[in-house]
Symmetry: C2
């Protein structure tokens, strides 16, 4: 594998930039300033305001769910999804070892114990078949609940994460949830604009979490959303994320321990303007991915990761997979590219290797460990796609 050849191929796609080319930069080419300025001019910047309602309606429409609730970030969204999925202190929750730290962190806030699952190379996400075999061995269903026979703890939920925007294989995962009485919560933080068999990700879980961090497909500065098709859960999610205040003409009364997780109006204003442009962003991101795919066809020792066949991915972060034989050259490639003005990153350190999750239960993670050595993210901003002649 020739690292210089890979760098040249990257440059052939993204162009010769004067500046450092980031992994993912936002584009503000729409109504961002108008909407934000309106917030400032009217004084409605904070927790109540019309852009929050509008952003929630736009999100629900785009993703095809009944309810979307805007919150401060994806971690907060996932935290509330887990609470409303019934995850309680002492429960185990299944999640991929190959994910961003927000997934197990959100579990920890509930007092739950992460139980790490292996990934599959075709999706970079949780492997539902390997998980089914594993659960058959270690789990037992009693009544409507699943228990870990080894630890005695309840296994309440499974939280797949759609890695870099590529949808997990949801159908077999849904079968497994049915069989083992697990609540499906989708960590869709990276997959706004990604579809599984024609339906948007985030529609499949009882609840799902989106993120609009600065590096995501669209951004609100910081932000996230809870998606659900259950009206009652949607109403409860809104209540829980707005300090659980009971409506009254003047009384301050709250009926449960709530959270201050609401998205400020000024951030939602940004979100509305961004969401208007999302179809264009997605198109350019797919064009960029196609350009990468073609450019890397003839490059030895590495391949461009393409969406699973059942999926239409947002290609949030594009990824190269080094061949097994070349994974010892990963750091050399990272050093060369980052030193040459092209930002690249390895994937996350697997979660079970972090000190706070070291002792958590886990299955065989050999595929995730293999992927960790081979994955490299490459520049993915929508501004790099489209016609760059």
């Amino acid at each position: 594998m020739d690292c210089t050849k890979i760098l040249d191929t990257l440059k052939s796609v993204i162009g010769q930039a004067d500046n450092f080319v980031s992994l993912h930069e936002p584009t503000f080419a729409g109504n961002e300033w108008d909407y934000v300025k309106e917030c400032l001019d009217t004084g409605w910047v904070s927790s109540v305001g019309s852009y929050v309602d509008r952003f929630e309606l736009m999100l629900a429409e785009f993703t095809g769910v009944k309810r979307a609730i805007a919150v401060v970030n994806g971690t907060a969204a996932l935290h509330v999804c887990l609470i409303l999925a019934g995850v309680e202190s002492g429960d185990e929750v299944l999640l991929p070892a190959l994910t961003f730290v927000a997934t197990p962190n959100a579990l920890s806030y509930c007092g739950a114990i992460p139980h790490f699952v292996d990934s599959e190379e075709a999706t970079l996400g949780l492997d539902p078949h390997k998980l089914a075999d594993y659960l058959t061995e270690i789990a037992e269903v009693r009544g409507d609940e699943c228990f870990n026979k080894k630890t005695g703890r309840r296994i309440k939920s499974v939280v797949p994460m759609h890695t870099y925007g590529h949808p997990v294989d949801l159908d077999p995962l849904l079968d497994l949830c049915e069989r083992f009485k697990l609540v499906l919560v989708e960590d869709a933080a990276e997959s706004l604009g990604s579809y599984y068999k024609g339906k948007h990700t985030g529609q499949w879980g009882r609840l799902s979490a989106l993120s609009f961090n600065g590096n995501k497909v669209i951004t609100t500065g910081g932000g996230g959303a809870i998606l659900t098709n259950d009206e009652e859960l949607g109403t409860l999610a809104k209540h829980l994320t707005t300090t659980a205040k009971v409506p009254h003409k003047w009384e301050f009364r709250h009926d449960m321990v709530g959270y201050n997780y609401r998205m400020p109006n000024i951030n939602a204003a940004l979100g509305c303007a961004q969401l208007e442009q999302l179809p264009g962003f997605l198109q350019r991101k797919r064009e960029l991915a196609e350009n990468y795919r073609q450019a890397f066809v003839d490059v030895d020792g590495v391949r461009f990761f393409s969406e699973p066949e059942y999926a239409r991915s947002n290609y949030w972060l594009n990824a190269l997979l080094l061949d097994d034989a070349n994974c010892d050259k990963r750091d050399e490639l990272l050093t060369l590219t980052n030193g040459s003005g092209v930002m690249t990153r390895p994937t996350w350190t697997l979660m079970h290797k972090l000190p706070m999750f070291n002792d958590c239960p886990r299955m065989d993670l050999s595929i995730a460990e293999n992927l960790e050595r081979r994955l490299i993210n490459i520049p993915s901003s929508s501004s790099l796609g489209g016609d760059r002649a």
Copy 2:
């Protein structure tokens, strides 16, 4: 007590407005546009950006502490303050029953049990003398720790809240903390710009929390900050609020369960512009308070609440105190004023009356219960102060 007379007096101070006069509205009369637009123009809207650093430095300078860490809101700030104060699951923490729900909520996130304390009429805040008597009765110090003799639980910390911006009497409270080995954490959410004996609130606790919600003296849309004079705790607070990521040129490694609590750059940009105007806001708010004070001198049955003698308050929310004999007219006054275009509010329902905190330990709360019946907040925006001729 004549409710119409009170309404007329309010109107004599705030002027005859065409629109409904809110309790507290922000003023954007400085560099808000320029700074926010710069974020959009440069693409730096999110979790990394120069305005976050600048806002933190400005905050530290204004409040006179060594470190200020900007976060998503005051609740998040208080949560992290409590973690870093050493509050653990099963601990009791002392706090006023007369506070906003964020105070006991933040405790609950740590698994701690709120233990409610009475207030004093001179400050509207926690009564350190009554608390000292109470602790002498129910608490015992063993080694460096304090225990509740009745419940057996450790009492780790005391969290005073500077109600409506009026500083609690901190000197006797610090004596009590010394005597009973309690960590002082200030809930200074409402008291940016308030001074106790010449020093800014938030300097006295080991850690302190500020809020910049839309209704506060300055706003960032949603936001808060952690203050501390302990450099080490400041560094740890920054680490904990930014997912506990270990710095590395490309590796994603996290060394503890962290939080996604960082303030986005676009919100910090707003904060910088607002903080530049804070001295002017404070001056106009004091002028408004003085106008109210003078106007209500001759109104029977009610008095305007003035800062304690040792304090210089930001007068965040101005308050009227009904005489004891008139507290049955509170709702009549609320109905009349809110129906006449002048927003007024009662104080918060006392925390021990909320269902989730019903069973929490508490001392005699007779003063707080009396204040709850008598307090009414009145319009307090800085734009209502100054020369309105």
